[in-house]
Amino acid sequence: MAGLLNVSVSPHVRSSESVEKIMWTVVACLVPPLLLSVFVFGIQVLLIAGVSVISCMAVEAISQKALGRPVTVKDGSAALTGMLMAFVIPPGVSFLLPILGAVMAIYIGKHLLGGIGYNIFNPALLGRAFLLATFPVAMTTAWLVPLTDGAIFSYFNSGVDAVTTATPLAVMKEQGMDAFRQQFGAPSEIYASFFLGWRPGCIGETSGLLIVLGGLYLMWRRYITWHIPVSLLGTIGLLTWVFGGETLFTGDPLLAILTGGALLGAFYMATDYVTSPSSKTGQMVYGAGIGALTVLIRLKGGYPEGICYAILLMNPLSTVLDNWFKPKRFAPPIGGEK
């Protein structure tokens, strides 16, 4: 009889969703692009990704222990940071770099600022920005050439450790469109090969298809909404179409979206709950802002790829945007809105 009467405090309606479940689902969504990258670039990718994930989780555990907080490594947020960080650094770098990046991302970027939920900046991108500022040469040249016939096998047989090359955006920026065509083929071939993943770049920029599929799955699970990715990619496409070509309105919007980390950033980085606005209007403005800054940096800045810095620059604005675009109250307080 006593078991029938349950007295409990609210909430009474519970959902099976938890931080843990969401984080590990996102990590799982990133596994297919990672496997493809291993196939494209070779086994070294797996080493970088493994070191990055493990060092992020280790730094999380150590800093939580040191700060006297409950250790929550199992919630997957550190693993996700490690995964995303591995996705945005060149696959040919020394494995010491992700370890340093993990300290910056997790200890300084997250735990000193108050732990999960309080980080103002996206930790993975912070790690990348830190590495790019500290090791500029390694972080901009250590790209691997994709080998179409299964790099993972030839890697073991060849005596060469790694052959480096330039990324498509860097070629386009430094040598112009003609060199780009020469190296990567006609536009229609480019779209196909870039979408499927046979091109030099970060792990996260290889296969647009798998990134989009993962993103759509997250949307279907309602972990993310369409607002940020659509407004972000739309702005990149639109602005590149207008300003990206030799004259106005001759840019190639599809190429701009497919190259660089635009897709990864739009679906996995800009949609991070902690560092993006909560209101839908705020999210649209946030996404559009990232898109505009990305195009600005790509076309006018010193770096071929801009989405990392664009997201970091918009992160602190998310609080401001949430304040600006507060949803309207149905019943204003007596005496009117303050």
Binding site: L67, I108, G109, H111, L112, L113, G114, G115, Y118, I120, F121, L126, A129, F130, L132, A133, L293, L296, I297, K300, G301, G302, Y303, G306, C308, Y309, A310, L312, L313, N315, P316, L317, T319, V320
Partner: protein, 191 residues
């Protein structure tokens, strides 16, 4: 077009606060609340532009013709200090709330290195009048932008569970460092 690039460069690329590290005193001091930060930003913009105009005029029409360039630092300090006193008197009469909110920081603009830095940079780069106007106003706007962004942060930092040893200025400096890391993204733009 040169003026446009100058404006972009002064606002973002060579942001006086986050890229040149000038004027950190009010940056850390008045960024705790967004209202005071707005007041401070307005005061900085006003004082920077005004002092740039005055220092530029004095330099071009008095110091240079008489070969007195070596006096520039001294003269500029005097000009800026008296200007700040003027702003203080006006605020005291016109907006008591803002005057009280800014408190000691308004007096500190007297020795704000950002204001002084802009005045000296204008002279060192041998800018004309229009260039000087564009440069000083966009530099000040860049300063205000960084200050307001930072104030938005700090309001959020105050509700975060920051480790005790890191609270206050320590975490503010770390955050400022991260922000200037993000501003590296603008590098290479517009020279």
């Amino acid at each position: 077009m040169d003026l446009f690039y100058l404006a972009i460069s002064a606002t973002f690329v060579n942001n006086i606060l986050l890229a040149q590290y000038l004027g950190h005193c009010p940056f850390l001091g008045v960024s705790k609340r967004i209202e005071t930060a707005i007041g401070m930003a307005a005061a900085i913009i006003f004082v920077t532009i005004l002092s740039a105009i005055f220092t530029w005029s004095v330099f071009t029409f008095i110091l240079r013709p008489y070969d007195l360039e070596f006096l520039q630092t001294l003269t500029f300090i005097l000009i800026i200090a008296s200007l700040v006193q003027l702003v203080e008197i006006i605020l005291k009469k016109k907006s008591r709330v803002l005057y009280n909110a800014l408190g000691v920081y308004l007096a500190l603009i007297t020795t704000n290195c950002a204001v002084m830095g802009v005045a000296l940079l204008v002279v060192r780069k041998e800018m004309g009048f229009v260039e000087m106007l564009v440069f000083s106003s966009t530099s000040a706007v860049g300063y205000a932008l960084a200050l307001l962004l930072f104030a938005g942060h700090r309001e959020r930092l105050q509700i975060s569970a920051i480790p005790k040893s890191m609270q206050g200025t320590a975490i503010a400096l770390i955050t400022a460092g991260i922000m200037s890391l993000a501003f590296i993204g603008f590098q290479g733009m517009a020279g």
